[in-house]
């Protein structure tokens, strides 16, 4: 495993590796995205309770799930960066953070848009909603922290540290928020139960999920390449590469 990963720590190798990967990832992301959405939006039956508004599920659920997946990916990169002192991993953290934040925001916004017809309010202080909001804050924290240092290196390292600390916090927040709600017995709105999903809806959903995953990988690779170029601009290999373009 390490034999395979070790050369990737070198910026130059990683740059070319990502360069090769990006078009494939992007292509398959677009393909699955189209497939999932056309199938999901066009060819699934209308829900007898919710009408057509439930179709937002094809954006909401994958982005919600992948917002957490992105955080995990970011935290793993951060952990690698701190323990093995790998610079490229630091850059990966910063490459993933904004994508994760956007996913989180999409999940929140689509959820709110869905909640208005369902619950009659844009926002309720439900456990899942609250923890998703806090996830957004965690992403913002990582990004803001990076921006607050004029020394780029320090900023990247510190942001990695926070990303790692945040991952310990993620399950804690998740569960405590859940308990908080049951403890209080205050919520007047019954939480949305797990709707048992018809297979005809499940498949497009799973495809969309894959699409979001691929898109995350593609965008992360792309951003990582940019970051490598930015940080290594003084190196001869970058100059050679630029000259070739």
């Amino acid at each position: 495993m390490f034999k395979w990963l070790d050369p990737l720590a070198k910026p130059e190798t990683l740059f070319h590796f990502c360069g090769k990967l990006t078009p494939w990832l992007m292509g398959s992301a677009i393909f699955t995205m189209l497939l999932g959405n056309i199938w999901g939006l066009g060819f699934t039956p209308t829900d007898y309770q919710q009408g057509d508004s439930y179709r937002i599920i094809h954006i909401h659920v994958p982005s919600a799930i992948m917002s957490m997946g992105a955080y995990m990916a970011m935290a793993i990169a951060a952990f690698t960066a701190l323990v093995w002192q790998i610079k490229t991993a630091q850059w990966a953290v910063l490459a993933i953070a904004p994508i994760g934040a956007v996913y989180t925001a999409i999940a929140l916004l689509t959820g709110m848009a869905w909640g208005k017809p369902m619950w009659g309010a844009w926002w309720v202080w439900d456990a899942r909603l609250t923890s998703q909001l806090i996830l957004l804050f965690l992403y913002f924290g990582v990004m803001a922290l990076h921006g607050a240092f004029s020394d780029r290196q320090t900023g990247a390292k510190v942001a990695s540290l926070l990303a790692v600390i945040g991952v310990i916090n993620l399950p804690i927040i998740h569960f405590s928020v859940e308990w908080w709600n049951t403890l209080h017995q205050g919520a007047t709105i019954t939480k949305f139960g797990k709707p048992s999903i018809d297979p005809s809806m499940l498949w497009p959903l799973l495809i969309s999920l894959l699409a979001y995953k691929l898109l995350l990988a593609a965008l992360a690779c792309y951003r990582l390449r940019t970051a490598i170029l930015e940080n290594e601009q003084h190196r001869p290999w970058v100059k050679q590469w630029v000259a070739k373009q």
Binding site: W122, W123, W125, L133, F140, A144, H184
Partner: protein, 221 residues
């Protein structure tokens, strides 16, 4: 006033260089607001009742925190020392600081009002009243916080001292602003409260900048 322009540009440039300077107060404001439902409980009616007070307390705290370090860098680097030595440009400098503080914290809070209304399920009239009180009130917040920052600039640990000096001055603002929002949410007239807020703004606009200048002079000598 040409100088005011130059100085304001400098402050805005500093803000642009560090986006966190204006992003953070906004995020802080939102985070403090989310703490309340977590601490007090998610009951919507309860939240709607306490919302006006909480919004204003959160606004106060975020402006205060943003102002805290306003003069610190310039003091430590000797910039203020030299402005005091140069004398005539000090007031323009202070006005630029106040303006940039408001632009970077007060203004975003006003723009954020709809989001707040959403989080707390506020109705349209309450939202309107909240926006109006924020428009009138945030300049006062900025003025007072800048004053506090100037007073404590050479104090060895400014942070909390600043908060202490400013919080009592802020009480009238808090009372009238939250009363206005409350009145609005019950469908009542609230022009009276707005008039009081207006008076407070004008009063502090007239007095505070001079006070800031002399506070800086005292701190340098």
């Amino acid at each position: 006033m040409v100088k005011f322009g130059v100085f304001l540009k400098r402050e805005l440039r500093l803000l642009a260089r560090q986006k966190s300077d204006w992003l953070n107060p906004v995020l802080f404001f939102v985070i403090v607001l989310t703490l309340f439902p977590l601490g007090v409980g998610p009951e919507p009616n309860m939240l709607r009742i306490i919302a006006p007070g909480i919004v204003w307390i959160a606004a106060l705290l975020s402006v205060l925190l943003a102002a805290e370090r306003l003069f610190k860098d310039d003091y430590r680097n000797g910039v203020i020392e030299q402005l005091v030595a140069a004398r005539h440009t000090l007031l323009a400098f202070v006005l630029a600081k106040i303006a940039s503080n408001w632009l970077s914290t007060g203004l975003p809070l006003i723009l954020l009002a709809p989001v707040v209304a959403l989080l707390f399920n506020m109705e349209l009239p309450a939202l309107q009243a909240m926006t109006l009180t924020l428009i009138l009130g945030t300049p006062v917040l900025s003025l007072l916080s800048v004053l506090g920052a100037a007073i404590t600039v050479s104090a060895d640990k400014g942070g909390i001292l600043l908060a202490l000096l400013i919080l009592p001055l802020y009480i009238p603002l808090l009372i009238f602003a939250s009363a206005a929002i409350e009145a609005a949410s019950m469908g009542l007239e609230y022009r009276g409260q707005l008039a009081v807020l207006l008076a407070i703004v004008l009063f502090s606009l007239a007095l505070v900048p001079m006070a800031v200048c002399s506070a800086l002079k005292i701190n340098v000598s």
